[in-house]
Subunit: 305 residues, 2 copies
């Protein structure tokens, strides 16, 4: 689809995944007041095999700003917890009504709707608990909580999901031209882009980044977030169900506004690649320390799932 051969997930990312998974495991393994079935649902979704894109962005951003991975790990866990919660709730029958996620039954299919709703609620809450308790100093912890809440809340991720549900089957769909592209980009900047940007921001904050560094990370994240969504849309059109591990082609079935439906497949690919090249320019002044971020950005447009 993307003309170049599909690259493997960058080695730098694959080094981080076991560390991230161990950190997520440790933060959900202990015995406390959590009923066993709820804990099982939380861990089923959170620890499901995945790309761990957002936590890796936290760690790579910290690295770019000369921070260390250990101090960035609470931020990495928090963004993955918010991501896992958003998938659980988005998959619910009242929302996108998906039965499969990452090749396995979705949380509500495996544990029932009530437990799935509560597992999502618990993961969102735990993300803030981890940041508030583990990030040092307290000023940085408060800044991280504020940034994550802003990105995950009604103005961004949750609002984007609501707006996306509104366009599916609503009046905004399948209009051509720049206003539809603006609508589409606005939804995705909120729905997926804000969490990608805040991942980079948390990495910068825990590394004590300066304003110019945070701004560069943000510009990078803005472009990479959009690329991520464009590629998701392309994969929905073109991939097989086996590769994606979920039902595909359903955006079109549902009449959702997508980049390929608006720009066509070829122009969508070109657009994503141009954005990626620009994103790498955004972080050029970090020099060699931005290498991981650039590799990841290229992976985002070349991935097969």
């Amino acid at each position: 689809m993307l003309q170049k051969p599909l690259s493997s997930y960058p080695e730098i990312a694959e080094q981080f995944i076991p560390q991230i998974d161990a950190a997520l495991d440790a933060r959900t393994a202990t015995e406390d007041g959590c009923p066993a079935r709820l804990r099982e649902a939380i861990r089923y979704s959170l620890l499901a095999p995945g790309k761990r894109l957002r936590p890796i962005l936290v760690l790579l951003a910290a690295e770019a700003c000369q921070g260390n991975a250990e101090a960035a790990m609470p931020g990495a866990c928090a963004v993955e917890m918010v991501h896992a919660y958003s998938l659980i709730h988005d998959d619910l029958p009242a929302m996108d009504d998906d039965d499969l996620r990452r090749g396995r039954p979705t949380c509500h299919k495996a544990f029932g709707e009530a437990t799935a709703i509560l597992a999502g609620d618990a993961l969102l809450t735990l993300a803030f608990e981890v940041l508030a308790k583990e990030v040092q100093p307290a000023e940085t912890a408060a800044a991280c909580c504020a940034a994550l809440a802003e990105a995950a809340g009604a103005a961004n991720m949750v609002g984007g999901q609501a707006a996306d549900l509104d366009t599916a089957g609503g009046d905004g769909r399948r209009q051509d031209g720049p206003s539809s592209l603006a609508v589409l980009e606005s939804i995705h900047h909120r729905k997926t882009g804000a969490m990608i940007r805040v991942s980079l921001r948390l990495g910068g904050l825990v590394a004590g980044a300066e304003l110019a560094q945070l701004a560069a990370l943000d510009a990078f994240g803005r472009r990479v977030g959009l690329c991520f969504q464009i590629t998701d849309d392309l994969l929905d059109v073109q991939s097989s169900q086996v590769a994606m591990g979920k039902r595909v082609g359903k955006d079109a079935q549902h009449g959702k506004l997508t980049f390929p439906s608006l720009l066509g497949v070829d122009r969508s690919i070109q657009y994503a690649r141009r954005l990626t090249a620009e994103a790498c320019q955004d972080v050029a002044f970090f020099g060699a320390r931005a290498e991981g971020l650039c590799k990841l950005a290229w992976y985002v447009v070349e991935r097969s799932r």
Copy 2:
């Protein structure tokens, strides 16, 4: 039912309600990326007339510790946001399946399930945003976020709701004797008690309370939280639908473990009153500054809805 004439809501509380409602209104009124329908659902639930018990506890606890209401208001808003979110999600068809709340259609009845799920998610997130951005100094903001997350999360509120769903229709119901009372109290300490206790804690934290003060507030909150649930159970048995503004008698229909089913009505009333008297002793060393807390505690057992 409670033999004494029902007291009106303490005047001290009624003074606070307009301030609290104005603060909640201000924090959800502004234009940003939030779609209009989602905002409407958030405000429909958050600003619905209510007792505002939890935010009032924040303000009274701050007062007891010689803090001021203005500094405590972000904490007050945060606990009411978490409370409103928990009601929205608990009312969903997959959970308690309620059509009425405070005499009005529940959020999902008024706005649909998808919007209701998202409105709950947004309110939970906003609670942390308000604490993280508004509480000063940053160390206190981080401590408040940590305390709220712990109370609202899998170990407490969300875990208690999951455990409660497990007992309804499960094996634990309708057993007599101390082990069932222990199970019931354990569920309610988590499901309702933890949020009442953290309300008092946030008030103490923003007032710069010492450890002994925080411990006294916690002991008070533990007893008041339990009283609140006992009285809720009693009202479910005895009140009319009009007074409660929601379907009543459904605990018994659903076979849920309740205090009156376990102890009988009279012993439940006696138990709640004893706890209230003890709660007032817990905060006796605050002297006259604890007057509001004690009035509220007696209101909790004597309320009619």
